[in-house]
């Protein structure tokens, strides 16, 4: 059992409330996954300022300020570091690939858990509400966010094993369920040059989607291909800088509920997570159908 929440804001006047709304949703899903959590925010001006790229990482052997200093020397550019224990977030006015390569050269043992022009990913172990408070998620702003509360079944309880898996630029994938044929798909991906960070089944799904997107496939098509390729149980929430998508397997035993208003689209494992959203009383509420791909695009 895991808990998923996601919020895609259509109304820009809600952007300053993104973190508060997303945290409230996460709080309601704590009991579905109390062992670890991850959250991702698109467009927070502190963590991912406009015009800069951002890299989120775990297991940095040096503090955020020292990492930012060393990256600044390598890049000859001003680099800002945020220490959000155990996650470190750095951003700089350079391209994403340039910043990512610099992080890899300065702290090669660290694990990159998210990168892009808009995306910040925060992960940690322990109670999801306490983590959100520690990270300062409640005061985050932006246009889109996802979060996951994990009850581990397929790999160990670690910050690394928590979702979202963000393996492509500004991409996130959150999963409730378990894949059953991921090892054979992983081997195929490895043969085509994809490398993996973990033994986690969800990472295989995320790498698969990232590969399709990198090859020019659109998100809807990539998820239809995932439906055909992956066996197992899954409710997936997949986001990019301009899209927000939900898909469920054919059996559809992993719960999912979607609510939609003119101001926002929200998805969660249970209605409890949606109950406090503004305007929920008049929202269109429905459960996504099995094997159907639902995609919303940023206007």
């Amino acid at each position: 059992m895991c808990g998923i929440v996601g919020l895609h804001l259509r109304d820009a006047t809600l952007h300053p409330q993104l973190g508060a709304l997303l945290s409230g949703m996460l709080d309601a899903m704590c009991d579905r996954g109390p062992d670890s959590a991850g959250m991702a925010v698109y467009g927070d001006p502190t963590w991912s300022p406009e015009g800069e790229s951002t890299v989120s990482l775990l297991d940095s052997p040096i503090p955020a300020t020292e990492l930012a200093q060393q990256l600044g020397i390598v890049l000859s550019a001003p680099v800002t570091g945020h220490d959000l224990d155990p996650t470190v977030v750095v951003h700089a006015p350079v391209g994403t690939e340039v910043l990512t390569a610099a992080v890899r050269s300065v702290v090669p043992t660290a694990r990159i858990i998210g990168f892009g022009d808009h995306l910040t990913v925060l992960k940690g172990m322990g109670n999801p509400t306490e983590l959100a408070d520690r990270f300062g998620l409640r005061s985050a702003s932006g246009w889109q966010g996802v979060a996951h509360t994990r009850m581990a079944t397929e790999s160990a309880v670690t910050a690394e094993g928590s979702h979202p898996f963000a393996v492509g630029p500004d991409q996130c994938l959150v999963h409730n369920g378990s894949f059953s044929n991921h090892m054979s798909i992983k081997h195929e991906l490895e043969r085509s040059g994809v490398s993996f960070d973990s033994e986690n089944d969800t990472e295989v799904g995320a790498r698969y989607v990232a590969k399709q997107l990198a090859e020019g496939v659109d998100l809807e098509k990539a998820l239809l291909m995932l439906n055909e390729t992956f066996d197992g149980f899954y409710t997936l929430l997949v986001s990019t800088s301009d899209s927000f998508a939900v898909v469920r397997d054919a059996i559809a035993c992993k719960p999912a509920i979607i609510a939609e208003t003119d101001r926002w689209v929200a998805m969660a494992s249970e209605y409890r997570a949606l109950a406090k959203l503004p305007g929920i009383d008049t929202a269109r509420i429905f459960e996504p159908e099995p094997e159907e791909v639902y995609v919303w695009h940023r206007q």
Partner: protein, 235 residues
């Protein structure tokens, strides 16, 4: 900290779930002095509301509920003015549960008796392993509904999803719209007068006015659960 238990009837017959816990409300409803009628406001998707009731009570829940609402119900009437989560009225024995919105998966699962009415749609596995309950759904039902249905009636005024009635025993299914596919050993059956009559009764009980002749009956071909002598060599 132990939960505070309030078993006294609220003066106005209304309990606000933002002010009381699910446990408090359920204990009130199960207590000897339970109010004959009660309205629960702000359920906010809470699980296991109004479960295990065993008296002739009339409970209205004003909003959306979470998992297993009105589970194990006996005698009581529970009305949900909203959507219901997984397993509404699961294992109901008697009484009536009415969902005015949609129901999630496994609505009426394993229920032995009583009437479950869903005005909207019911998701996958509606009436799974039903054992005598009557279920009337105003809209559509999802895949694998009435799986291993042993007894009772399932009425669907809309369409049914894939694998309807898979491995069905003696539950009777009435569908007004289309069936995406029938499960193993589930077949279309003749609508005789007694079927039209019982369907009329069920529709009346649910407050629906559809013409029973618009429905098709489905049930067990009885090839799967009966021992067939031709298969003796397999044992």
């Amino acid at each position: 900290m132990a939960p505070t238990v309030t078993t006294s009837t609220p003066a106005n017959g209304v309990v606000d779930l933002r002010a009381s816990s699910t446990r408090e409300v359920n204990e009130l409803l199960s207590s000897p002095g339970a109010p004959a009628t009660l309205t629960i406001t702000h359920p906010d998707g809470a699980h296991a509301l109004a479960c295990g009731l065993d008296a002739d009570l009339d409970v209205t829940i004003d909003g959306h509920v979470g998992y297993y609402c009105a589970g194990m119900n006996q005698k009581a009437t529970v009305t949900i003015a909203g959507n219901a989560g997984v397993g509404v009225a699961e294992n109901m024995m008697s009484g009536r549960v009415h969902v005015k919105g949609d129901a999630s998966q496994s609505a009426g699962a394993t229920a032995h008796g009583g009437l479950l009415v869903v005005d909207g749609n019911a998701a996958a596995r509606c009436g799974i392993s039903m054992k005598g309950v009557d279920i009337v759904v105003g809209g559509d039902i999802g895949h694998m509904s009435a799986f291993m249905g042993q007894a009772g009636r399932l009425v669907v005024c809309g369409n049914a999803g894939e694998a309807l009635g898979d491995s069905i025993y003696e539950a009777r299914l009435y569908v007004r719209g289309t069936v995406a596919s029938l499960g193993a050993d589930c077949v279309k059956k003749e609508m005789r007068d007694e079927h039209l009559a019982e369907l009329k009764e069920l529709l009346d009980a649910a407050g629906l006015t559809h013409d029973p002749s618009e429905f098709t009956r489905y049930g067990s071909a009885r090839q799967l659960y009966n021992f067939h002598v031709d298969n003796a060599s397999a044992y």
